[in-house]
Amino acid sequence: MAKPTKPPKPEELVKIDYNPPEKPWMEVPVEFKPGTFCYGTRPKYLEEVGLPNPREWSPTDDDWKLPSDWKDTVINGIGERLKKYRSFQLFMDICVRCGACADKCHFFIGSGDPKNMPVLRAELMRSVYRKYFSLGGKLLGNLAGARELTFDVFKEWWYYFYQCTECRRCSVFCPYGIDTAEITMMARELFNLLGCNTDWIAGPVANCYRKGNHLGLEPHTITSNIEFMLDDIEEITGIKIEPTFNRKGAEILFVTPSGDLFGDPGTYTCMGYLMLFHELGLDYTWSTYASEGGNFGFFTSMEMAKRLNYKIYAEAKRLGVKWILGGECGHMWRVVHQYMDTWNGPADFLEEPVSPITGTKFENAKTTKMVHIAEFTADLIRHGKLKLDPSRNDHLKVTYHDSCNTSRGMGILEEPRYILKNVCNHFHEMPEDTIREKTFCCGSGTGLNAGENMELRMRGGFPRANAVKHVRDSHGVNMLANICAIDRATLSALMQYWVPDVEVCGVHELLGNALVMTGEKERETDLRLEPLPGKEEDEDV
């Protein structure tokens, strides 16, 4: 495997040429530039979940060790998916190449590579579709924009469909709602028919399948990680919290991405949850079996996603809870909101979620029976159930990043903002065209948050970072809040590269800071154990 390369300096990276090359795109061969692609998966990860063609390979190899009938597999795979997904069939047929989506993709903005324009990304696949599935393409070939599927084309697909984070920003601007993410999903399913996943996606999938979470945290590690957080909470607040795990008969099952359990700043968000639930006296339990809300299966195939997602309802049933509460995560919520019930429902063994504190019925989660923690907390604040001291966040000037999935695949825009405005005094929005449904991706979603493709990530995250820089310069913003575990990791790296003085946090970390808990001691520090505003002098003495 090639060694991870450091991305060039920001000054170098922004020298972006948006002019397409002279040669027509079909004649420009793909070039695997170091730092812009992920490693191919190790065989063991495929073996663990029973996916085909496990072998040692690397995308830079001349021979990918594909089975001899790989072409048929791909063509048949396309045919099957055209019949199963109207989105795929339709989006192959109706694009008019108006180009409205072209400069909407963060990867195009950050790289200038024309094949990162959503329309051209889709054409990579469409050209092959025409050749094998349309009359015009069969008869006229190249004249009709059709081309043969060759190994070079397959490699080109691989390179560019792992340069799409399925963020759906293009879909917002397309007059027909063509969602390139749908095409990327199909492409990735095809890669997985031939054992061509990336290592960074296949690893978490295998972990999650057997151990219950992407990070592969075993049950005792989960409890001990949480114990560390509890110690910190006790140090900060003087309060000892005792959460339960795998407890039958709890009212609520809490599921969050495992990123919250390991490594900061995710763990600070997790401390926020723990403190909130304790203060409420919530009858809830963690699960070590369903210990992952996220779903890297979603970046592999719909089937793999369903296999991983299965655990959530299964565990809710086994434990006999009434409903499920979900933590802060982006793609997890795309999956929960738009797929979970369809895959693994109906969840008729659960009850319609009702907040035990306010009595609010979450009618919007009537059938899926899973509530987003931002919905839950916003409702608490609205009903005056939380005592909050926003001045404890006065050292922070906060802005908010909408995750792609929660904004364009769910529409939860106001709840997190409502919470933020109640827990901190300094909140500033980024420019309008970079937030809400027009939000920019962190550049590392859909399993692209590996180490070896750092240049790609910094390019893809450039539009987001640039908007943060804008509010840092105009309002002195120093904290980028979000509701996504992947963001908490990826935006941290992104900020270090582009806007080094801005830190990243979850919304519930700031809530944890502001939450006045019954019986707490006077707080000296925030959840990061950094002195609170006005308490710095004590430190110095």
Partner: protein, 330 residues
């Protein structure tokens, strides 16, 4: 390259009509047979295509949400951009189909020194697209007067509205001019915006040239080489009433016009022009954002291999017990 090729194709089509009618005198072929064949291809083709599309199910509930979801009662939700029910979806689709809502959002991204990314409003494509589609529709409706007798009142009304400027004789109809301008803009942007040129296929230029050809021949026929309108109507009304006959003495320009239209109709179902029907079926637009409220069923959902809790506990039982986590089997 693609543009030249498509231009050439349209020129050939014009020549075919000229030679066929003027040279070979194939009036019935160009006046009756080809138009019927084209309309039949159009109707059957469109129906078959839509059937093909609707045969593919919508396994998952995937609207692209462009606004606040319906959640807590005190949070104002966006009924049009993130509709929770059918009414909202109809509204969203109407905005999309009638006013090109999504295209209206269009922005131009620019990288300036700093580095600073700026997003400017960019409504030209929206404006031209809207002008093009609406004027095309009105031109089509105006043409109903060639296929009806008596001409319905609304057609006459549109006709006189369209000529409200009362310039020239016959009165200049605005929509014809707007159509030609808009389609020319669409062509020019395809050629002059580097990214758009880069993605353009011959199939993107062909409809533009066809429509330019149709509009030009129509305008020439109306204002310059005036054809015998009474005879034209005899022919078109004959076509519409399935009683076709070809009156002698209609200028050849009419046949060119008709042949280009026939070509467009016949080409339609096999081309990207099917976006007209496709937009209605687009699952990112025509579904309500209510997937946690209302269960969506996937017709091909099938059982998958899973890792059960029992298997999990089997592997980790000791570790769980040591960590004080309850287990099913002691």
């Amino acid at each position: 390259m693609g543009a030249l090729l498509s231009f050439f194709v349209v020129i050939v089509l014009v020549l075919i009509a000229l030679v066929g009618v003027k040279g070979a005198g194939l009036y019935a072929l160009f006046g009756i047979v080809i138009p019927y064949a084209a309309v039949t291809t159009f109707i059957l083709g469109v129906i078959l295509r839509v059937i093909k599309w609707s045969r593919s199910p919508v396994p998952f509930h995937i609207p692209t949400t462009c606004g606040q979801e319906k959640s807590l009662p005190w949070i104002k939700y966006n009924k049009l951009e993130s509709p929770a029910g059918t009414l909202g979806v109809i509204g969203r689709m109407a905005l999309e189909v009638l006013f090109f809502r999504s295209l209206f959002r269009n922005l131009k991204t620019e990288l300036r020194d700093g580095p600073k990314l700026v997003y400017g409003s960019n409504k030209w494509l929206w404006l031209a697209g809207l002008a093009f589609h609406w004027s095309f529709l009105i031109v089509l409706i105006r043409h109903l007067r060639f296929f009806t007798h008596p001409v319905p009142a609304f057609v006459n009304m549109i006709d006189s509205l369209d000529g409200f400027l009362q310039i020239g004789s016959p009165h200049l109809l605005m929509t014809g001019v707007v159509l030609l301008l808009a389609v020319t803009y669409l062509f020019l942007r395809r050629v002059f915006i580097p990214q758009v040129r880069y993605i353009s296929l011959p199939a993107d230029y062909l409809p533009l040239f066809l429509i330019i050809g149709i509009a030009t021949s129509g305008i020439l026929m109306r204002y310059f080489y005036k054809v015998d309108i009474i005879k034209v109507k005899e022919l078109t009304l004959g076509l519409a009433t399935l009683n076709p006959e070809v009156p002698a003495g209609i200028g050849v320009i009419f046949y060119v016009h008709l042949f280009l239209i026939s070509s467009l109709f016949a080409y339609f179902p096999f081309s990207k022009l099917m976006h007209m029907g496709g937009v209605f079926l687009s699952p990112t637009r025509n579904l309500a954002n209510n997937s946690r409220m209302k269960r969506h069923v996937n017709p091909w959902n099938y059982p998958v291999k899973v890792h059960t809790y029992e298997e999990y506990e089997e592997e980790f039982r000791d570790k769980m017990k040591n960590a004080g986590i309850p287990v099913e089997k002691e």
